[in-house]
């Protein structure tokens, strides 16, 4: 039509673009080859800087070229006068900045900048901090820049107070910023240190932080960064390493200990001497899974000198002494001449055993937080973060008293947040089991948790001295953790969804397993039982039972006497 501006068709444009690219590719390849050649010949000259610069400007993730550039700079620093070098270094900083403009998240560029700043004479750290400010203004969540900032802050001796102020501003602009919150959590203990508080920050400062973070989640309860910070403020209690239970067994000639948190007993980390009536016994520590060099809460000691190191028919005392670490107590256990088994339980204060996760905060704090978040719950009854935080706070405050509420909130979570159903089921199981264990008299050596919809077994290490375990009619889908049941004789897990029996192979004392109505579908799944001395097995109601040949079972488990009620 008349008067119109004629424009190239798309095909023409594409062709032009393609040619352009081809041309560029040629140049790129040629330059790359040249650089490799030069590096091989150890040529550290201006030309090398120029060509690598051209390539890196368009592709700043080419690490080899950055490395070559570092070599060039190190070489030049040795051979050129300092004032000349300063100019070259300055030029490099400018070049790096232009690279960052095109690619502010390039590992190579930020890394090279660190190198230059550390290598150059008279680096201007203040200017670097301004650069960080600028780049964090464009993208306040550029973690590369946050990393570089911390590097600069260290070098420039910037006070943590200033940095805290900086994070405050960033959070005010947009509180959906994990980096800022995290930085705060690192700065606060430096500025307001307090040994007595468990996250190491003064109480009055903590209260202000609670306020800030509450403002954030009242403004947008769906933003998880604030909730994460809130969780950090509540603290994570430190568990002191110690021994929960010490047990000696004449039958198996072993000493078993159950520690408060996983430890590694080995010559390189932590050694434990075992003393029999005051005499040191040579022996080895293995975990309940026969492992060494791993972290575990259950360790078993056997003597290497004498297989029956615990004398029969006479009183004895076995003591353990931790070498090089302070576990707070030196434990011992006495066994008299008639006992086959004896133990020593460290008595936890009632109700405190499992509160370590949030126990850092004071009860007042927890209660205050619970109250205000319950207010938020009134307004946002469907918000998963609100519900979950209420659950953790209740659990930390008084799991027994809030047991019903926790149950209600968790079932609500299960309905509104279907993609994390299993997490909530497991959390519920945890609450149930912990409440149960709190009340349990371990010396009965019986655990009975039936019909509770338990989906996973938590704290299995605490079951290590239990003889009879009944977990029937729950929602277990595996026997994960069952290897801890070192003293188990009877295990009842009827009416679950268990598919395999892998961990049962470590249970040397197992005599009876009732696993009716589960999901065992193949004979191979029974293999682990072959390593035990099991006598009775109830397998009825599992898929595998259809067309099962009892002889086959016997072949797999030679010790078996009774299969589904039939004598074999």
């Amino acid at each position: 039509m008349h008067g119109r501006v004629k424009v190239k068709t798309t095909a023409e444009q594409q062709e032009a673009k393609r040619k352009e690219r081809e041309k560029k590719l040629k140049i790129y390849t040629a330059a790359t080859e040249k650089i490799f050649e030069k590096r091989k010949n150890k040529e550290y000259d201006e030309e090398a800087l120029k060509i690598t610069g051209e390539i890196l400007a368009v592709n700043s993730d080419f690490s080899t070229f950055w490395n070559y550039r570092k070599e060039i700079f190190l070489n030049m620093t040795e051979n050129k006068p300092e004032n000349e070098m300063i100019e070259i270094f300055k030029g490099e900083l400018q070049f790096l900045e232009s690279c960052l403009r095109t690619n502010p998240k390039s590992y190579g560029v930020w890394n090279h900048r660190c190198f230059i700043m550390e290598t150059m004479p008279k680096p201007d750290w203040k200017k670097e901090l301004e650069l960080c400010n600028l780049f964090l203004e464009y993208d306040e969540r550029n973690f590369h820049c946050w990393d570089y900032r911390r590097f600069v802050v260290k070098k420039a001796n910037i006070s943590p107070e200033e940095e805290l102020e900086f994070t405050t501003n960033k959070i005010c602009n947009n509180f959906s910023n994990f980096s800022s919150w995290h930085y705060r959590s690192k700065l606060l203990p430096l500025i307001y240190p307090d040994e007595n508080s468990t996250i190491g920050v003064e109480e009055n400062i903590l209260i202000k932080e609670y306020e800030t973070v509450q403002n954030a989640f009242f403004t947008d309860p769906d933003d998880q960064s604030a909730w994460f910070y809130h969780r950090w403020l509540l603290g994570r209690g430190k568990i002191k390493t110690g021994v929960n239970c010490m047990l000696i067994d004449r039958t198996y000639q072993m000493l078993m200990i159950n520690t408060t948190q996983p430890v590694m007993i080995s010559p390189s980390t932590c050694e434990i001497d075992v003393l029999l009536n005051g005499e040191r016994v040579e022996g080895t520590w293995r975990t309940h899974k026969q492992q060494t060099d791993v972290y575990s809460s259950i360790w078993i000691f056997k003597s290497t000198e004498d297989e029956s190191w615990i004398p029969m028919h006479e009183d004895a005392e076995v003591a353990m002494a931790v070498v090089g670490e302070d576990w707070g107590s030196s434990d011992s256990v006495q066994i008299n001449s008639t006992q086959t088994v004896a133990w020593n339980l460290t008595h936890e204060e009632q109700g405190l055993r499992f509160r370590d996760e949030l126990s850092a905060a004071t009860t007042d704090t927890l209660q205050r937080e619970l109250d205000s978040i319950q207010e938020l719950y009134e307004l946002e009854p469907e918000n998963k973060w609100v519900l979950l935080t209420i659950v953790s706070l209740m659990k930390a405050l008084n799991p027994k008293q809030y047991a019903n509420d926790i149950e209600i909130f968790l079932s609500k979570l299960i309905t509104i947040d279907s993609s994390r159903i299993n997490y909530y089921w497991d959390l519920r199981s945890k609450c149930l089991i912990e409440n149960y264990l709190e009340e349990l008299d371990f010396s009965t050596r019986v655990i009975s948790l039936q019909n509770q919809n338990i989906s996973c077994l938590v704290h299995p290490e605490l079951f290590s001295m239990v003889v009879k375990i009944d977990l029937s009619n729950n929602k277990l889908d595996s026997v994960k953790g069952f290897s801890c049941f070192q003293c188990a004789v009877d295990i009842h897990v009827d009416g679950n969804q268990i598919k395999d029996l892998e961990e049962l192979s470590f249970l040397h004392g197992l005599k009876l397993l009732s696993i009716k109505d589960n999901n065992i579908s193949s004979l191979e799944s029974l293999q682990p039982l072959g390593k035990t001395s099991i006598l009775k097995l109830y397998l009825f109601g599992n898929p595998v039972v259809e067309n099962i040949d009892e002889l086959e079972v016997k072949k797999i488990i030679p010790s078996l006497h009774n299969f589904d009620g039939h004598m074999m």
Binding site: L100, T102, K105, L131, E137, Y138, R141, F178, T219, P221
Partner: protein, 742 residues
């Protein structure tokens, strides 16, 4: 610019008035190849939407003291117009004056001269000879600095800067785009010209200039692109722009701010009329100040048509409200709500929840169906909000009047809320150098594609054929020009073209105030504030307050411009109608109420609300009337209006498609080539470099994708994140050619 006598004898469309809707329409016609003649009876662009400097607006005010006090109207050609008619044709005479402003009243509240002036006078006379030499130097430097500018352009911008003085001598500028492609600069370079091409002398200017440069750098440093906000790839482009200055200026955002602050403090001591007048060029005062919704038809059009490259914006940084006699910042964005100390935690949730609801109200019909036709205020009551939250929502976010229905209120809420966070913490953008810049950007696009412009020229008569179709016009220069369509702002139309109901005038009370300090400020940053101030005397006529800081290029350092706008009624004086706002927000005395800004100067006027046009049946089919400015705070309706007009004239054509990349234009003849050349020189100074940029983009795009994956946890709410502290917004997405090190 074309002189009347040189004009071609035929055009497809003749557009009268360079106001907002006419300019959009003119650009749209020209863009798809229609020949356009665009006339304006004024000596400036933008008509009733114009922005003036101090001299300009004082002169304008003198002319509009009264509806009839015009001494500046165009005159009809001194020929017998009927001699130009052909057989069967008749004439319809058009009015030549503009009667939509009246009751202007200006007043200074500062002494004419003070001690400082006298001191300066003495010093100045001592340096008289020196400064004259410097004047010459200045001009040389200017020419060198502004590399692309020819002397020709320099002159033109000068004329534009001082439109009143220069334009009279040289009534119409001489060049048309068709014959001299270079002239297309005129619009875009005006700003720089204003800053750079100073003709005043004295050292003071040099100081000012360097100060100005710093601001400019600052502005550049914060230049942002619309796409930049949308996706990460372009955030990189933003980065490029910024660090360009960073190198030379040690990234001193704060430095610049603090320098500004110092100057502000110094200047806020006192002003004299003399000193204000000496800075007359630094003022840009709007007849019709309008903001843009960040997600609105105007912004979308600017982006989609690529006209955004001709404009610069600043975000409105805060929404204010008057509560119990105190000014407060209204928390409307997520970040504001979070950091607000004025509302409790529960209120924060309440507010956010309601705002969230308003964004999605269409999906929740059951919650609103009983209220849609009832007053919005009733709906708010049903929501059980606390008084503070209700106040914020009603007056500041919905800007609801007493009689507004719920459905209207929700539409306004949604528009406001969906605009939040695109460029800043409020919903609005402000056009740097005044709203009058916007129509000019569209005129520029029109000119780039061959539109011909004549200022201070209008149509004396329409020529009608026997079927009452307009076949042509006679210009005030006495030329007969054929045309297919005439599009005119309604004030250009003869009375009988407007329906009788429309003759009942709707009026707007306006005030432009200069003050010595901002209304409300926290921290160091300069704020651009907007406030909807409800008035107890009439709940349906709130006063809209817009305060512009120096960095919006509305005023010299130390002076703030405040625009008051209120729907008015016949018989009311603007000063009385706006009294409530002036009394509550400002003071005239030096000593009392130090917190309130002190008035330095005021201009009141009444403006006819021309936003509704109802043509009568007498109007010919091929003559279209367009609206003038109304009391709306924004200009999105003008886009829809221009679109409708365009569709009516050319139903099958695309409305303002994106302008092609200059590199892709195939030149056919010389005149077109010149147009394109000129354009590519100004916008894409080194074409080979922009190619490199494209290559870099390709690469960086990919890399950023990779990084995105590493960074997933950080990826939420990308929309919010970019905007925070950015000062100026260049929504065009134009990449400045970075000095790539290749």
């Amino acid at each position: 610019m074309a002189s009347g006598s040189d004009l071609p004898k035929e055009f497809d469309v003749i557009v009268l008035g360079t106001g907002m809707p006419e300019s959009i329409a003119a650009a749209a016609f020209s863009r798809i190849g229609q020949s356009v003649l665009h006339l304006d009876r004024n000596d400036h662009y933008s008509g009733n939407w114009a922005s003036f400097n101090l001299q300009g607006i004082e002169k304008w005010a003198k002319q509009h003291q009264d509806v009839t006090s015009h001494k500046d109207d165009l005159e009809r050609p001194d020929i017998d117009e009927s001699s130009l008619l052909e057989e069967g044709e008749t004439l319809v005479q058009l009015p030549l004056g503009n009667y939509s402003f009246s009751q202007t009243e200006t007043e200074y509240f500062v002494p004419e001269e003070d001690e400082e002036d006298k001191k300066a006078m003495e010093e100045k006379s001592a340096k008289q000879t020196e400064s004259q030499i410097e004047t010459n130097n200045d001009q040389v430097v200017d020419n060198v600095d502004e590399q692309t500018k020819s002397a020709d352009v320099h002159q033109a911008t000068d004329a534009d800067g001082d439109s009143n003085a220069d334009m009279k001598d040289d009534k119409v500028e001489k060049d048309s785009v068709n014959t001299d492609g270079e002239k297309t600069y005129e619009f875009s370079e005006t700003k720089e010209g204003d800053n750079g091409a100073k003709t005043e002398s004295s050292d003071a200017i040099e100081e000012k200039l360097s100060g100005q440069e710093q601001i400019d750098n600052d502005v550049d440093a914060k230049t942002e692109t619309i796409e930049g906000v949308k996706d990460e790839q372009n955030t990189v482009e933003v980065t490029e722009n910024v660090s360009g200055n960073f190198n030379t200026e040690s990234a001193g955002t704060e430095n610049v701010v603090s320098k500004d602050e110092d100057t502000v403090k110094e200047k806020s001591k006192s002003w004299s009329q003399k000193r204000m007048k000496s800075e007359w060029r630094r003022f840009n005062m709007d007849l019709s100040p309008k903001v843009l919704y960040s997600v609105g038809d105007m912004v979308e059009l600017l982006i989609s048509s690529d006209i955004a490259k001709y404009c610069e914006f600043k975000t409105v940084t805060q929404i204010l409200t008057l509560m119990d006699g105190n000014l407060e910042k209204v928390p409307c964005s997520r970040a504001d709500v979070f950091s607000s100390k004025k509302v409790s935690m529960l209120e924060k949730r309440m507010l956010m929840k309601f705002l969230q609801f308003c964004l999605e109200y269409e999906q929740k019909p059951e919650e609103i169906k009983d209220y849609m036709d009832k007053p919005f205020l009733e709906f708010l009551s049903s929501k059980k909000l606390t008084p503070t939250i209700r106040h914020y929502i009603q007056h500041s976010i919905a800007m609801a009047t007493d009689s507004m229905t719920t459905s209207e209120g929700l539409i306004k809420m949604k528009k406001f809320l969906s605009s939040l966070g695109r460029y800043g913490n409020t919903a609005f953008l402000w056009s740097l150098y005044g709203s009058g810049e916007l129509p000019q950007s569209f005129c520029r696009m029109c000119a780039v594609f061959g539109g011909v412009y004549c200022l201070r020229t209008s149509v004396s008569s329409l020529i009608m054929d026997s079927d009452n179709r307009c076949v042509g016009i006679i210009t005030t220069e006495g030329s007969r020009i054929k045309c297919k369509w005439v599009v005119m702002e309604s004030t250009y139309a003869p009375r009988n073209y407007l329906s009788v109901e429309a003759s009942e005038k709707r009026l707007i009370a306006r005030a432009i105030l200069m003050t010595d300090r901002p209304l409300f400020t926290t921290g160091q940053k300069e704020q651009l504030s907007f406030m909807c101030l409800p008035c107890s005397d009439d709940g349906d006529r709130p006063i809209n307050v817009l305060e512009l800081p120096p960095s919006s290029m509305a005023s010299p350092l130390g002076i703030y411009i405040c625009h008051l706008t209120r729907q008015s009624k016949p018989g009311l004086k603007p000063k009385d109608d706006l009294l409530y706002a002036v009394q509550s927000l400002f003071t005239k005395d030096d000593d009392t109420d130090v917190d309130k800004p002190k008035l330095l100067w005021s201009l009141y006027f009444t403006q006819e609300d021309l936003s509704l046009v109802s043509p009568s049946t007498a109007i010919p089919d091929n003559v279209i009337l367009m609206s003038g400015p109304g009391s709306d705070i924004d200009i999105d309706s003008t886009v829809l209006e221009a679109k409708e007009v365009f569709k009516r004239v050319l139903p099958d054509e695309e409305f303002l498609p994106k302008a092609p990349n200059p590199e892709d234009i195939i030149y056919v003849d010389d005149s077109e080539a010149q147009v394109a050349d000129a354009d590519s020189q100004s916008e894409f100074s080194k074409s080979d470099q922009s190619e490199q940029d494209t290559a870099q983009e390709d690469q960086s795009e990919q890399r950023l994708q990779d990084n995105d994956q590493e960074d997933q946890s950080d990826c939420r709410k990308e929309k919010d994140q970019d905007c925070g502290a950015k000062e100026t917004v260049d929504i065009s997405g134009n990449v400045e050619n970075s000095d790539a090190n290749v």
